[in-house]
């Protein structure tokens, strides 16, 4: 290949330094990968939810549901809807969670089940009621018939004519498969779908005369808007008519905040990647000083030189971005898997949007080029006289600039503003999940990081001095030298350490938050939960209920002292989401509630009053005697607040407690979904567990937990969700580790002569190598120590701010993550140092000493 243009020189340079090129690109690859992975993850998840809704809503122009939720309402309303002008047809449905029995038993001896959603439908209007299509056979006509989704039928090995068994409120029910359904777009996770005749569904799910939705088709498309208004008015406040797109838009809005949070983590990885590019290009410029001077002498202008560096960065950015996309695809798969595990949710297939691809590449490229600006400027400023100079190795090493005294002050200022700001927003983060709050919370955290990064240069010397005796103890005189070496180019050491600090502090901060929330939940459970067993839906579905007969049966088990059933429903009103809990008098017997307003406030529930969770009370500024409005099937109702529940963990602080009667009358929920059981003192709990288990054997959709198991379950759910975040944060720590490699390579390069002299006067290869590794350890330790301090502080702010569960979160210091962070700092230092140390050890003494 003949060189045709000056710009081709950049390409040659990259090719010649292939190893460094790839090392530099690693940061971009990981950064772009994680950004792409995260966007794809959120696209995939919101796409999956959107699809779920479109399936459930089907071809309907409008869907009528209970106001503010998916609660049941009277099927008589169907007649009214049908009588409304412009309604072409209307299809009722009763949507219920059930479980499909797979025939086997699990390790606990319980039947193996898969979650299932069952729709009770009319055969005539079944095709309108949901988005599913009939692939084979027919819709269920009457009695114990079911149309099952094709995938589930296949995995169970059943054909039309065969029987399946599902768990319902009435216990296990056998149904004859009469048809197979096709789910447009393939299977949705591990969930099965079925259709039953409406009357049969109402019977087995204990919802006589109730439906949860009416799918409406308008006479023509132009009439939809008018019809929406007419239905809204005509049906009264208790019901709402929604267009399918409205719900879809709500899903998207809910994912927006989640997406921004994830992008923040991804952004830190990219930020660290940018730093890697900056460092590597600065190094290249430094190495090529003489060559650049020569080019200037030969008549290359400053702009040409700067452009060639920018061009190198651009090529690097393109390579990195493309590789990043490939990696990102893999990451997206991994993240979707982790997400599924964390939130008990399974999705097949990724949605790869062109936007995600373009965004990831553009961001990757932009970040690379921005990081290259300063090195490019410096390259342009290389004097042509450099061509005449012998060698200009570490001429740029002095780190002291005019602003170096001012920067730490500015840093302190930034921390002083950023940290309280974060605190303030963290407080609001849990109440209103808007994109703006997320974004400004992130701005606070970023400001804090930036501030700390500016302070770090001032900390390099004292911290190195602090580590010096320790290193000396461990590694002898090299350890001490290494600590001094780390302070020689303070700017670079600080930058490298800062990158590591960001990753480490995020890990520590989130560990602190997670550990504290978990610790507080544990404390709450120990303090407030007086039960010995709980029964709850296997999939935490809110619409799984069981008949009152079940509670009675359980309470008859010998040794059971007290039981309390809880009915729940979710209310949505615009952005607000509330959990309404229907409780009876025995509730305080088992849950030790702390009620602001006095324990007697509980008695007021029977007079139609309500208790509200602490967080809801704070948000709406409610206290005893105030009024709270909720939308139900009878329209918006006003309840007098009898008291504020300080430890409302069941509903995450936003719960509204009402009596069972209020629940049935105003929200249409007359069956319980959660049961807490207290044993008599001294009773054999193992025996009670077995007996209650026997009662529940016919209700596989319900799971019995002993208190210990329940706590374990809550904790493991929680930890699974956390693993997901750790995975993302781990990437930015990994990228910053590469930064340490780069910095050490640069140190080795700059000190070639010095290393040669050390070797000449009798330092062994091993000692020289160790010198470099020790320097890596010093840099990493600085990053990790500061990271732990900042992370603890941020974690404390998060905890303080987010009284996340509506109960007080007590700060639990994350000792184990902090110690792990410190240890990982040592490891990162050692591993990052290996390669540069090898090249230092291999320094040719003669060449190095002549290197002047």
């Amino acid at each position: 290949m003949r060189l045709k243009r000056f710009s081709n020189l950049s390409l040659r340079n990259l090719g010649a330094r292939l190893q460094r090129t790839l090392l530099t690109a690693v940061g971009i690859v990981l950064g772009v990968g994680i950004v792409f992975g995260v966007i794809t993850l959120s696209d995939t998840m919101s796409g999956a939810f959107r699809e779920l809704f479109s399936r459930a809503y089907g071809a309907a122009d409008l869907t009528v549901t209970a106001a503010g939720g998916n609660g049941p309402f009277d099927e008589e309303l169907l007649k009214e809807v049908r009588a409304t002008p412009d309604v072409e047809s209307a299809a009722p449905r009763l949507s219920q969670s059930a479980s499909l029995l797979l025939g086997g038993v699990d390790e606990r001896g319980l039947p193996e089940v898969r979650s299932m959603r069952v729709f009770g439908v009319e055969p005539e209007t079944a095709s309108l009621a949901t988005g599913f299509e009939l692939a084979e056979g027919e819709y269920p006509e009457e009695g114990a018939q079911v149309a099952l989704d094709g995938n589930s039928a296949e995995s169970l090995g059943v054909r039309p004519g065969d029987e399946i068994r599902i768990g319902t409120a009435q216990g296990p029910t056998d149904l004859t498969v009469v048809g197979l359904l096709r789910i447009p777009g393939g299977s949705f996770g591990g969930v099965s779908f079925g259709m039953m005749p409406l009357p049969e569904a109402q019977r087995v799910f204990d919802k006589p005369g109730k439906i949860t939705g009416i799918a409406v088709e308008a006479t023509d498309e132009g009439a939809v808007a008018a019809l929406e208004g007419r239905l809204e008015r005509g049906l009264g406040e208790g019901l709402q008519a929604e267009r399918s797109e409205t719900r879809t838009a709500q899903v998207d809005a809910q994912f927006q905040g989640f997406r921004i949070a994830l992008l923040f983590f991804a952004g830190t990885a990219l930020f660290v990647g940018a730093f890697l590019v900056f460092n590597a290009l600065s190094m290249t410029v430094l190495e090529r000083t003489r060559e650049l001077g020569m080019l200037r002498a030969l008549g290359a202008t400053r702009a040409m030189i700067s452009r060639s560096v920018i061009l190198e960065a651009t090529i690097l950015g393109i390579i990195g971005s493309v590789l990043g996309l490939l990696l990102g695809y893999g990451m997206a798969r991994g993240l979707v898997y982790l997400f599924g595990r964390a939130f008990r949710f399974e999705v097949t297939g990724l949605s790869l949007s062109p936007f995600a691809i373009v965004a990831a590449v553009v961001v990757g490229l932009l970040v690379t080029v921005l990081a290259a600006l300063y090195p490019a400027l410096r390259a342009g400023r290389v004097s042509p006289v450099e061509a005449m100079r012998a060698r200009t190795g570490g001429s740029a090493a002095s780190g002291r600039t005019r602003g170096s005294r001012l920067l730490p002050v500015l840093g302190l200022l930034l921390v002083g503003v950023g940290a309280p700001w974060t605190y303030y927003l963290a407080k609001n983060l849990s109440t209103e999940l808007s994109g703006l709050v997320y974004a400004s919370g992130i701005a606070g955290v970023v400001g804090t990081f930036l501030g700390v990064s500016l302070i770090i240069p001032a900390l390099v010397r004292p911290l190195s001095a602090l580590f010096s005796p320790f290193l000396r103890l461990l590694f002898g005189v090299e350890g001490k030298m290494a600590a001094t070496n780390a302070t020689r180019n303070r700017g670079r050491t600080a930058l490298t350490a800062s990158a590591l600090m960001v990753g480490i502090s995020l890990v520590v901060a989130f560990s602190a938050l997670g550990g504290s929330v978990l610790g507080s939940i544990r404390t709450y459970l120990e303090d407030s939960l007086g039960s010995d067993f709980v029964v709850q839906p296997a999939n935490s579905d809110f619409d799984v209920t069981f008949s009152g007969g079940l509670e009675e049966e359980v309470s008859r088990v010998p040794g059971v002292a007290e039981t309390t059933g809880i009915a729940t429903t979710i209310r949505r009103d615009g952005r607000e989401v509330n959990v309404v809990l229907g409780v009876d008098e025995s509730y305080p017997e088992i849950f030790r509630l702390n009620i602001n307003g006095g324990a007697e406030a509980f008695a007021a529930l029977s007079e139609g009053e309500a208790l509200v969770g602490q967080q809801l009370a704070e948000r709406r500024n409610l206290g005893p005697g105030d009024e709270v409005e909720l939308k139900g099937i009878r329209g918006t109702q006003t309840y007098r607040v009898a008291g504020v529940v300080e430890n409302d963990i069941l509903a995450g602080g936003t719960g509204v407690y009402v009596s069972k009667e209020t629940m049935a009358r105003d929200f249409g929920v007359d069956a319980d979904g959660f049961l807490a059981i207290r044993a008599e003192p001294g009773a054999d709990r193992g025996e009670i567990g077995r007996e209650v288990g026997a009662v529940l054997k016919d209700y596989p959709q319900l799971t019995l937990y002993s208190n210990a198991e329940w706590k374990e379950q809550i904790e493991s759910d929680f930890n699974r969700q956390y693993v997901f975040f750790y995975a993302i944060m781990g990437v930015s720590v990994a990228v910053s580790a590469f930064g340490v490699v780069n910095t050490l390579s640069m140190s080795v390069f700059e000190r070639t002569r010095e290393i040669g002299i050390l070797r000449a006067i009798g330092t062994t290869r091993f000692q020289v190598g160790r010198l470099i590794i020790d320097e890596g350890i010093v840099i990493s330790l600085i990053g990790c120590t500061v990271g732990i301090v900042v992370g603890s502080l941020l974690g404390y702010l998060f905890v303080l701010g987010s009284s996340a569960g509506g109960f007080e979160v007590v700060f639990h210091y994350p000792e184990i993550p902090a110690v792990l962070a410190l240890v990982s700092g040592l490891f990162i230092g050692v591993f990052a140092g290996l390669l540069p140390a090898r090249s230092a050890a291999r320094t040719n003494i003669v060449e190095a000493v002549q290197y002047e």
Partner: protein, 250 residues
């Protein structure tokens, strides 16, 4: 080469160069006036710190003088912007460095073509020029070799070809033999002399090697930032003698 030629290619008048300021200021040049004729091969000699490198940098428009004038081919360099100076270097000058400064990732031919690439000219019209230069430096067989496959002398020949490729008026050489053994060095000097003669170029070379200087038409002696002596077509012994005198005086 012809004596007394009034065809002046390069002229410097009253050059002063001060590095730094205050008590630590270093006066590298203290009023140097010189002129070089077109086609002249001149050597500048002097002990370390005499200001010879500084003079070369200023002649090459690599550095600006603190005061005084530099005129190259009728163009006064005073007050020209960095961009203008760069373009001037590009079109009028060629450089030969002590450390060759070839780009290791490029072949000999590509290195020679570098000034053409920098100027953005098409490479095609230089095909003949390349043949001519490679035959001049005697490396026809090694055109596609990379610098690390060439000996020191060969590398410096490539560097000379690079300096000559765009036919500069002025070739500046900084210790061109400094990194070569004497035999190879002699060959390189011969080449510089020949090119000056053949293309009518002014060659100014800084050296501290008397034998190298002896090849030049004219030797200018610098000490302590001033021109202290000059010789026309001296031989090596004469140069040695003068240096010794200079050093004992200094």
């Amino acid at each position: 080469m012809s004596e007394g030629s009034n065809n002046v290619a390069v002229e410097v008048v009253d050059l002063e160069k001060v590095y730094g300021s205050g008590p630590t200021a270093v006066r590298a040049l203290k009023g140097v006036s010189l002129s070089f004729a077109a086609g002249e091969f001149a050597a500048i000699m002097g002990p370390s710190g005499s200001g010879k490198s500084t003079l070369l940098h200023i002649l090459g428009a690599l550095e600006e003088p603190s005061s005084g004038r530099v005129v190259i081919g009728g163009t006064d360099l005073s007050g020209l912007s960095d961009k203008k100076l760069t373009l001037l270097r590009r079109s009028r000058m060629g450089f030969v460095f002590q450390f060759f400064n070839l780009i290791p990732t490029l072949t000999a031919e590509e290195n020679v073509m570098l000034p053409v690439l920098i100027s953005g000219e098409g490479t095609a019209r230089y095909a003949e020029r390349l043949d001519e230069l490679f035959s001049l430096v005697g490396l026809e067989e090694r055109r596609n070799h990379r610098p690390d496959e060439l000996s020191g002398g060969e590398q410096q020949r490539v560097a000379i070809a690079r300096a000559l490729v765009r036919n500069p008026d002025l070739v500046l050489a900084d210790e061109p033999t400094g990194n070569l053994d004497s035999k190879t060095g002699a060959g390189v000097l011969e080449l510089l002399r020949e090119s000056a003669a053949r293309y009518g170029q002014t060659v100014v070379m800084v050296t501290h090697d008397a034998r190298a200087a002896a090849v030049a038409d004219r030797v200018v002696f610098l000490a302590d930032g001033r021109v202290v002596d000059e010789a026309r077509e001296p031989d090596a012994d004469e140069i040695f003698e003068r240096i010794r005198t200079l050093e004992s005086a200094g």
